[in-house]
């Protein structure tokens, strides 16, 4: 007879493994599809997988923010732009630069995997009670007490971005001509 806690832990590990592998596969789909609309759909799937992982790691507030901000707002913006510009397929050709780039990426992956096997990191003792961890209340308390300046600066950043987009969209520029030598 198995302990109920062992069964629960095993199930949780299996779910985390499945969702994590799905997230990696969806990210591969993003970069391997030749049409941008399929890439956007794969990216939405990737975001939803990450939100599930956030939930499994006790970050329910961030999971909701991930769904609303990323899978909602940002991806809808992407889909609008794709619909506006027309999703043209791009031809993939093999060149020297491309093979250099792929070599670079594999070296990067090897380095990251090496640094992942260094060993356990130093544990710090957190002071958050377990039943409050990751909820909107805990995040709010932390955000408005310890990180108030960063929060206000983030609001300033978003305001500057909004003003910049209005400037970019409102004033139309004359077409650039290639300089004649």
């Amino acid at each position: 007879m198995l302990e109920i806690a062992t069964v629960f832990d095993f199930t949780r590990d299996a779910v985390i493994f499945a969702v994590g592998v799905t997230a990696v596969l969806a990210s591969l789909g993003v970069i391997l599809c030749s049409s941008p609309i399929y890439s956007a759909l794969y990216l939405i799937g990737h975001m939803i997988c990450l939100a599930l992982l956030f939930l499994l790691y006790n970050a329910e507030f961030l999971a909701v923010v991930q769904i609303i901000v990323y899978a909602g707002a940002v991806m809808i913006l992407f889909l609008f732009i794709i619909a506006l510009l027309g999703g043209k397929k791009e031809v993939q050709e093999n060149s020297f630069h491309r093979s250099i780039a792929i070599t670079f990426v594999f070296i990067l992956l090897g380095e990251l995997c090496l640094s992942a096997t260094v060993g356990p990191t130093k544990q710090v003792q957190g002071e958050i009670p377990a039943d409050l961890f990751g909820t909107a209340k805990a995040i709010g308390l932390e955000l408005f007490s310890k990180h108030l300046v960063a929060f206000e600066l983030a609001s300033g950043l978003l305001l500057v971005a909004a003003v910049g987009v209005i400037c970019l969209a409102k004033f139309s520029f004359a077409p650039l001509r290639r300089r004649v030598r």
């Binding site: 994590g20 997230a23 901000v69 510009l85 710090v124 310890k146 971005a161």
Partner: protein, 99 residues
């Protein structure tokens, strides 16, 4: 699931994002690859905040989300402006500033 698995998943997503950024020529897909990289870092911050029982990682992830939203909005506006003046979507052809 242990820290090793989380680190490997995050490294894999980050490298896929890097690969997409360097091998694709469509600026929209390049932007999506940047989103992949930011998301992998977010995932690592959230999981380690859970492992270490401290909320600082989640606050940091929230800030990264705000910066990513601002970056996407400005970047897509720039892509739209370039497309309006040039009618071309290949990043290799945009070399006016090269002189």
């Amino acid at each position: 699931m242990g820290e090793q698995f989380v680190l490997l998943i995050s490294a894999a997503i980050f490298c896929v994002g890097t690969a997409g950024f360097v091998i694709r020529k469509n600026p929209l897909i390049m932007f999506m690859s940047v989103e992949l990289m930011l998301n992998s870092v977010n995932f690592l911050l959230v999981t380690y905040s859970s492992f270490l029982n401290s909320l600082d990682g989640q606050i940091f992830a929230l800030m990264i989300m705000a910066v990513a939203a601002a970056e996407v909005v400005v970047g897509l506006a720039i892509i739209l402006t370039i497309f309006r003046t040039r009618h071309d979507m290949d990043v290799d052809h945009i070399d006016v500033l090269k002189g």
